[in-house]
């Protein structure tokens, strides 16, 4: 299945990924090849099969809901590219 450049750009937007024109070309070709390879799954009859999300797990386990200390703000912010007070700082989101 061939992926068009337009589809590649749409997926890149969904993924919040800025691609160069060369990358768009390359991924159109390479993703088309991968999609061709995975198309074989369409040949299987899975109408009566339940999906598996985790192989060995019936359901997620919950831990006791008890209070415990979490990271202090200065530690949580230590890796932030930009911060103000106890907040992460980002560019303006509304004009």
């Amino acid at each position: 299945m061939a992926l068009t450049l337009e589809q590649v750009r749409h997926v890149a937007t969904l993924a919040r990924l800025s691609l160069t024109p060369e990358e768009e070309q390359r991924y159109a070709t390479q993703l088309s090849a991968v999609l061709d390879a995975v198309a074989q799954l369409q040949s299987l009859d899975v109408s009566q099969v339940e999906p598996t999300s985790h192989a060995t797990l019936a359901s997620s386990l919950l831990r006791e809901d008890v209070m415990r200390p979490s990271l202090p703000p200065e530690k949580a912010l230590a890796n932030a590219p930009a911060s103000v007070g106890t907040c992460f700082s980002v560019p303006k989101i509304l004009e």
């Binding site: 919040r16 990924l17 691609l19 985790h54 890796n79 590219p81």
Partner: protein, 489 residues
């Protein structure tokens, strides 16, 4: 001691430490010296933590004198794949987007290693976000295979495997999502164990595909892998997928042998594209198991041919979701000179991720997107059920399954870099195990004429790591492949 200290296995070093023949500081210094000697050529390490390792070694020696060892592996220095969060020590996951990231806490497995008294020598190279089979997708540099420096050590835990093989570390931890512990182990004459999904905590392990990722030991011997698993296998309330099970004694039954066991040989795992020398080596190992009293049983895993397609939909889908967190806001790289938040996200991710990671984010996003979800993602989850049921049926007949780990020996650097499908094929025998959540082990089982290592894979029932290790150990006991040191550097 006649042999170099760094040639000792973990358990041999542990015995020497217990007997007072050597100190942890001496062992750590020996590793650091070996790293300085060989790593300029092997390039297994992204970061050596000399100061931290020596401090831990001194503490270990002091503890042994004062109150006795904290664990049987007290004082044995290890390396860590750069996917494990280490408090205060940069962790990049092989990516530019995390360059300079200094974790504020330890992964649970790192904490367990520290509590058990194992000095940590530093962080080992890997494919970016564990996506790759050759270590060539590392954003920093490729690691070289100590058995032939022109070849890759495999991946994604290639730095860990190369460091163990080159005697830079006594053992290491890796992670395995589709073969990333076992395939590099097979390509470097080392032992790699992927435990059952849920056996080892993933808390603080940078996520790739959360339903497939598992942490495991990478060592020179099966016995070392058992001893290291003993330290890290523990229920962790901080990982909701961690199994609430008691940890068995993995060394107790290790020497139990294979007499009377039924070992399955899946016909679908001996494929046309297989390297003839790999096949010959593995067939010889199968004969050996018969000689040791096991019965070989022909089994069928009929959906094997669909595993690769299933994996390359599910893993990228999960990855595209997991990697959404790298957005330039809270940590890691942030693109400069951008207008607005959307451009900040797009540019940061465009600049910070490498080609393979972008390829998989794109594929995963596509497979999850409106209109394609049912046809790709949901269908792949259903085929995953069929693959899992293949194993369930086979394990009604046999105790474990034997096969080659990788259909080919280590390949040359650059050989497959521009051909993703051919690269993906090298994992064809390891990834069904992840899809089914089973324990899988790779054990050295010989060399090609060119001197490249070959690995034998042992797959077991869920949570039967003890059985898998015992079967691997039965073969190891008959051979000395693990004693062979790589020719270079």
């Amino acid at each position: 001691m006649s042999q170099p200290l760094t040639d000792l296995t973990m358990l041999e070093l542990a015995a020497a430490l217990a007997a007072g023949k050597v100190s942890s500081v001496e062992a750590t210094r020996a590793s650091l010296a070996r790293i300085a000697q060989v790593d300029p050529k092997v390039r297994a390490f992204l970061r050596v933590d000399e100061e931290g390792a020596l401090r831990a070694a001194e503490a270990s020696d002091a503890r042994r004198r004062a109150s006795g060892p904290a664990s049987p592996l007290e004082g044995v220095p290890l390396g860590l794949k750069d996917i494990f969060l280490t408090e205060g020590l940069e962790t990049t996951c092989g990516s530019r987007i995390l360059q300079g990231f200094v974790p504020p806490y330890d992964a649970t497995v790192v904490r367990l290693l520290r509590e058990a008294g194992l000095p940590l020598l530093g962080k080992l190279n890997m494919d970016e976000f564990a996506m790759g089979s050759s270590n060539e997708s590392s954003a920093y540099f490729p690691t070289h295979n100590p058995w032939d420096l022109s070849r890759t050590p495999g991946g994604s835990s290639g730095g860990s495997a190369a460091a163990v093989a080159a005697r830079e570390v006594f053992g290491a931890l890796g992670t395995d999502t589709g073969g990333s512990i076992r395939q590099p182990a097979a390509h470097t004459n080392t032992v790699g164990l992927k435990p059952t999904y849920g056996r080892v905590s993933r808390f603080g392990v940078i996520a790739f595909a959360s339903s497939l990722d598992q942490v495991g030991p990478m060592t020179r011997t099966v016995a070392d892998a058992a001893a290291l698993l003993q330290v890290i296998a523990r229920h962790d309330p901080r990982d909701s997928t961690s199994a609430p099970l008691e940890t068995p004694d993995y060394l107790a039954d290790l020497e139990g042998g294979v007499h009377g066991l039924k070992l399955g040989v899946p016909r679908e795992y001996f494929t046309d594209g297989m390297d003839p020398e790999v096949e010959a080596s593995v067939r010889a190992a199968l004969k050996e198991y018969e000689r040791l009293g096991a019965t070989l049983v022909d089994v069928s895993l009929p959906h094997t041919s669909h595993a690769l397609a299933t994996y390359y939909l599910l893993a990228p889908a999960e990855a595209s979701s997991n990697l959404a967190r790298y957005d330039g806001v809270r940590y890691g790289l942030r693109a400069r000179d951008v207008r607005g938040l959307q451009e900040l996200y797009g540019q940061t991710r465009g600049q910070g991720f490498g080609a393979e990671v972008k390829r998989r984010i794109m594929l995963g996003t596509y497979a999850l997107s409106a209109g394609y979800y049912d046809a790709y993602y949901l269908r792949a989850q259903k085929v995953r059920t069929l693959i899992r049921e293949d194993f369930t049926r086979a394990f009604q007949q046999v105790d474990a399954i034997l096969s080659p780990t990788s259909p080919v020996p280590a390949f040359r650097l650059g050989e497959k870099v521009d051909d993703p499908l051919s690269m993906y094929l090298t994992d064809i025998l390891t990834l069904p195990c992840n899809l089914a959540g089973l324990p899988g082990l790779s054990v050295p089982c010989g060399f090609t004429k060119a001197g490249l290592p070959v690995g034998l894979q042992v797959l077991g029932r869920p949570f039967d790591e003890a059985g898998v290790l015992r079967i691997g150990r039965a073969f190891e006991r008959e051979h000395d492949f693990f004693r062979r040191t790589p020719p270079c550097p």
